[in-house]
Symmetry: T
């Protein structure tokens, strides 16, 4: 299985930025552990602060990968274009958020991406990514 | 570890009810598989169609269990009282939805419970429950 | 033909309560006349002030009866859970209101139940129930 | 008893128009059956696509007939002027809709006419007209 | 000076209709007195319940009369088309309402016509028409 | 007959202020002409920029005068307290505006005072005051 | 004098729950003191987490008691059915809130019950109940 | 090919009315040129200020013509009834506006007709009609 | 103990003004009885119709008195400046309303002052002031 | 004549993406036919998924080309910055949409770009581009 | 150069009031330093808690001073009358706020005064006043 | 001291674009004068039309510079992602706008960036940048 994790704007500063919200660990540190936890799964990683580059990445991966894990950061709440890209591709996308976006400012309560993804995993810290990987594994039933 | 799954109104009809949304499997069938998948975790189950009985259940379990998995069904979008109960107890609560509530009628897009839970797992079918159990297991990092 | 009439909160006080709106006759008095008017139709009656018990009643009757006549009282405007129950069952449901809810406070102008029922009969006093029974009889054409 | 049925815009195309919503029978076919079903009731019929002509008809019938059955079609949701006409006349008016307007586009969920009529019968197909006629007959109690 | 009074829907029933709001005098009775009060002013009168006929009347009078007094009745709050007609013609238009529309239902609080007229006279009963005539007479200063 | 004209904030600058909206004539110049036009009517005048002083003036005049002509200026759109004062007194109040408030910024489209006055005269320039005086004279009919 | 205090959902956890909002004292401890403070007043107490049971309690007490003190907790903001029950009974109801609901989340700023009660006492801690009892005693004047 | 152009209210005044918006040319002048530009296409023309007559015209042409070009003028933003007529007929309808309705008052930004037409051509002056005719010609691909 | 009662606009007319809402007793009559009821409490009284003078009074008393009882009348719903003054001072403030503001016009349903006071006592008539005094006395527990 | 077509995000996937909405033909296939249909017009083409690159393209072409045809895709509904770029340049811009955006999700009903373009052509499939080219050709009149 | 600083309600308590927002320094202390920093500029100062007195001050200074620096405090968000005064006078006005009003309660996010001033300086503490003085000095270019 | 000025979309066209709003001088011309006015301050300059590149620039400068002056142009009103970047970095940011955004289209009245910056300077033309530089200099007091 081949998965791509796409992180959106400001996710490159996680670990450094607002630690009371996002924690003190950088995403690349977490990614290493995640990969060793799932040795059989090929986990690619891409980060960009540019909305259109995230769309480019979705287009490329969307016909090659088995699944995409997307944390669109601030674009979650404003980008119809990213949501359209998710809708345009074949690979199922699972949306992930480190913090509980519903417990923060009201403009974070609406995700334009949520209606078009397979599912959403929200507020469970870095572990949200692990659970997203789990969601692509063979189901119980 | 001791977890309680609480299912809200109309969840007793899953498997029978609107199968194109909720699937053809009953929850109790799924629950059996879930328990055998996690033999080391004690998983209790409670279902009620009565808002106040769900509150009672949260009060009782909220000081005895290690975690609660809550699918409040239709009350998700209308019950300040259940959200208050979640806030009032000690046990962490993870919110779960079988269907992608953000892809359905607009009155399902707002969860009054989401802001007070530890995290939310939405739209991943019955497997949402398994991921919720996973979220209570020892973290990677 | 077997019909169930379900009355919601405060309907037990009709005849006693705000007579300028609901009239001076109790529902049970009316029910007697209704049954003798339709001797060939079996008309059951259930009343509860508890939202979840109304859901329970819908679940039970919803696979046994030929039709349900539902006056959900104040829950009409707030209960997604009852509307979900109506959607989940097989028996057709006709919504009934004694008073003209559109001529009263603005919070009574929206029925969450209306979009999922077969039809609505509103504002025609107690006779709304008789018309609801009529609506289940063989059609003209 | 003398009743007038007034049908508003596009009701002349029923039977031909959007059959999955309005059915395949024309209103005049139904009307014939309705009249033979109620031989003792004089049932007049008027249809116009012009808002002001509907007002004219209400003015004329409103002081001569025992009751008016009004399906204002698309004007239901936009015409304060028709609602004012209903309020200005003596004859009681019962509002009728063939389709369940609450299960359709959101602009159909508000009836400006509903607050000023005696009652509303909605979503029960052509039979909504028969029930409206019934609503003018001597009451049970 | 040549003025045209245009009355909209249901104004033909004034005197007969909701007397606690509009009074017990018909408009034609009032019109007679108004004309004798202003013998030097030619006062034409037109009434229609049809929105488009009011537009036609505005088009015809709008290039021939010195002023138009318009009570668009229920169309006041819904007719962009009448407002466009007022904007399209040369003659100044003064808007008139018998009742205080701001003290009635909220849908009567907005006049689509008000922004395009010379001025509005509201709530002063039948005398609103006399004041409108006055407003076309030579100014004090 | 004894009338009081009350002008609210910034009305003291009329003639000097935004002449394209309010004209180049001061109110006191107009007032002189108005008084000589109605020699039999005693017309008092009061102006204040202070909301509470306008309330004081309404209280004092409200039990002594035959009528009050009120242009509350900017307070028209924000002062519940002035509207309450109008409601609390005996003398009828007619609301006046020089400019067409409905053709200006949207925050000027709502008058909190309008629902509690006898009537409103809007947008007819300084002559709005003369028409307001007229509205207190013996009616035609 | 015979009063009933009705506490709604989660009020059974007061003293244990969010102490920075509700304080560290349980309601039953406070109730004992309240009763000994008013030895001449019979003060009954009822608590339920179930909306419909609160309605049942209002129905029973509403024709037997001299007054009801109601803290509907989270149902305050969502229950039309409880407000209807208050409207349906004879005994006057005083609404009470321990915390200042207007200083908390915006969904707590609207009480559906407030418009139908005799009065509201809000934000004065447990003492709000004592003041509610006081409000039923003989008035000063 | 047989096309019908339907123009709504106030379109008869184009050329005369608000020339800075609609230009100085009358529609009939333009129509002549349009017809000679497309000698092989039969282009009928109908104008009415009456909403219901536009509906009548749509009904008649809607089963006889190959296409309809509709500029509903002010009714564009208020007429559910015209939109229903468009939905009820067979002929494809293309919506046309001379001015850029999105650059004008906010009440012109919503077209109730747009969701039910084949397409919309907006703001390109009289030429909008020519482009609408073009849209009915054989496609490139 | 030293308390100041501050009454806002139009409260000077209580007893004279809208007696069906505010009763027939003047506030000064009530005040006399209130003082004799609480001989040990020094109760000052201040009334002004001017928003800024109420702010001045709050500033002066806010560092000298043990508590302030504030009925800001119509300013309750519009004055951020008075709310800021309450927030700026040391003395606790209790908000009082004679009538049930939640049962009146919708613009009275929001109090800008409520979020910054210690508590609110609403709708209990003149006795609301006595209860406010009570709220400053030594608590039960 | 020199025109530039700018396509926004996800337009590179047309033909591959949601074919029931956008059709099965790629834009480049259509472009070839379009160019051969208009041999005398120089038609450049640019596509980017990056909002700012679309702005760059508008800046460059906006002072060199005779016209720009812009389909901003998902940015249509969210990009004030692109609208500002259109406003900042000299070349007239015509907005184009393949699908009928008014018949889709409500967030697609508002175009931020529409108010600043010369005109809009919406919902006529790929042919919308041809009509846009037509709109730049010499006018009939 | 002659400037007037006008401070609105509660600004007299700065230094004493909510120090975490407004700091511990009084405005008069700051004013002294400001004057000595700009010895060549005559800086007058006026403070009032009364809305109408601020209007009076604007009227007086508005035709005599070279510029006005206005911090309208709580009236910023509610006073159309002050905004009208700013619009009515000749002197340019610069709006100043000590705290970042956009980072506080939502009712502070809208300034009715901002649209009519020359510019706004917000959130830079007391130094906002110095920058406002700077803004009146000869420009760089 | 080391400052970075970041200009957002379309700011590269200032001087050329809508001169009645932004003036006829280019930003680079102004920048030269600004630098020579503050010889002791190192002022870097960066402009991009790409949202994500502005985020990149904030990330880079945010840990190296003493302050950032940000004019995000059209992204001011739509970019949560830029606001998040401002929140994520160490350097204080001052927001600047050349034009008075509050006096323009309503979509420009909300700045998503304003709540997270140190302060805002709005509407003072190019000089807004000089005042922003001033705001970073040693304070008066």
């Amino acid at each position: 299985m081949k998965l791509l994790i796409i992180n959106g704007p400001n996710m490159n500063l996680v670990g450094k930025r607002e630690q009371e919200i996002y924690g003190a660990k950088s995403f690349t540190t977490y990614l290493k552990k995640l990969r060793s936890h799932y040795p059989d799964i090929h986990i690619e990683y891409y980060q960009s602060n540019i909305e259109g580059e995230i769309i480019d990445a979705l287009h490329k991966a969307g016909f090659l990968y088995d699944g995409i894990i997307l944390n669109a950061g601030g674009y979650t709440h404003t980008s119809i274009a990213i949501a359209d890209a998710v809708r345009a591709i074949k690979a199922p996308v699972v949306e992930v958020h480190i913090s509980n976006i519903f417990a923060r400012e009201s403009f974070r309560h609406t995700s334009l991406i949520a209606p078009v993804v397979k599912g959403s995993i929200i507020g469970l810290g870095m572990e949200s990514y692990r659970l997203a990987v789990e969601s692509f594994k063979t189901m119980i039933g």
